[in-house]
Symmetry: C2
Subunit: 324 residues, 2 copies
Amino acid sequence: MFEATSTKRIFIQEVGPRDGFQIEDRFIPTADKIELIDALSLCGLAKIEVTSFTSPKAIPALADADAVMRGIRRQPGVVYTALVPNLRGAERALAAGTDELNLVMSASETHNLLNLRMTRDQSVARLLEVVDLAKGSGAALNVSLSTSFGCPMEGDVAEAEVLGLVERFLQQGVAGVILCDTTGMAHPRQVASLCRSFLERFPTAELTLHLHNTRGMGLANALAALEVGVVRFDASLGGLGGCPYAPGATGNVCTEDLVHMLQAEGHPVDVDLPRLLAAARSLPELVGHDVPGQVLHAGQSQDLHPVPASLEDIRARAQAQVQA
Amino acid sequence: MFEATSTKRIFIQEVGPRDGFQIEDRFIPTADKIELIDALSLCGLAKIEVTSFTSPKAIPALADADAVMRGIRRQPGVVYTALVPNLRGAERALAAGTDELNLVMSASETHNLLNLRMTRDQSVARLLEVVDLAKGSGAALNVSLSTSFGCPMEGDVAEAEVLGLVERFLQQGVAGVILCDTTGMAHPRQVASLCRSFLERFPTAELTLHLHNTRGMGLANALAALEVGVVRFDASLGGLGGCPYAPGATGNVCTEDLVHMLQAEGHPVDVDLPRLLAAARSLPELVGHDVPGQVLHAGQSQDLHPVPASLEDIRARAQAQVQA
């Protein structure tokens, strides 16, 4: 590990406009959302999660889902995805021209019941209705499995539970699955283990890893996944997002921090980092608070500081001491 | 990687009372410093950097170095170390009963000139005077090489430069070397490479890795080092510390976050994490501001949340829907 540079393309998938904005107290004006997404579209990201077609009552922050999806300027090569909780949301998403529907349920029964008010079996049935609807629409399908790396109430979730759910969706023609570390419980060895099991059992499925940095392990987890062959990563500009079970904790793994590390290591990530950082710099004003992204605060490793003019003076004095 | 659990003991070395406190604006009362260090002494840490025997003018925050070193209650098995910049500092440190002297210089010429007002050759000569003084004192010796993974003015520092400096100290009987990522420029592949080179060339030297989390890579870097055989890690309670070249950026890799990850992965780290977290919880009041440690904010992964009483109600309603 940490030796061979993979030549496989790494896909960076931005989820900030959905996963980040959905928990912001301040309503971000539709035009500002569109402007940010349009800026992100020029950064070389593989995918952008634009919004969530949920009930405006459930998530008022994304009540303008239709307008945002219709208002963005799409770039070729970028997949525009949206979260879709049910049939109604799927109809809205398809009508607005969404490229991909991101369906969601939890890998743990307790989290699914609390979050979606359904058993997991009910969720599977509901989501498969959406799968049927989407067939023939041309839209791609992804299923996000929350709490795949642990449930804040149940603790560990067995790999067999997660992979069993994955299989039910793949059998019905779903192409992609997103394993989500919803509350930042995953550690690198666990990430490597579950992702390896997934890729061995479902080699043709498109696996995305959705990491949070709640306990500081976000980038370590990404490297562990990369090591076993994962090439698709969700990430959130500025590290926006969060976890309702850990108020005050940092949120999703930060897009620009992830890209910065991968590029520093020499991995093939065709993302324009300076442009991405410029977009991230607009976030604090947009959301009304500082954001956790670290490269945003510290600058890139390669951004050198000017040598102070006093250096030659200091050197001369130091040398003089030797001769004295 | 991420598979075999090493059985080698991992040494966690706390540097917060020195590297963290030295940049705090508020003077932390001597009694509070001693109380914190005494609490840390009961956590299973291998080493604690207690203070710095520098000129009180240079670092007013640690002007009470002698009183702190003399005032702490030492626990068997814990090494009490202190930073020592020169002969005068070494004399003070030895008089106060310091177990180990931590000497410091930079791997990059520019950083050494700016930080220490000497060329690297001059620093080596000065530090070797301290080495001579310490011989026969019973005190152990460690040399910290700042900017070993990059200089904020020069950029990359060649491995040969770093290892050449290491060799000069080891040849003079210094037992330990600390490779410092002073400004958080290191990435995991680079860490693995330099540490592997070090361990191959100097298999009997005691290598410590001193990481910063400035750009979010702290824990990923620690795992990369562990993978190539590094077992000694500096870390700072609460993630205290910082980098003068990146104001507002996070500082040293956080002790409790590092321990949390390593223990979650099953590595042998005999640190009492709940006790460490209790000590970390005292920091915000002590330093007068929040600290970056993430487990402190989010809790341990294994700290489960109670299942709400409403769960059975929700389940019953969900089941009723099926039957209806």
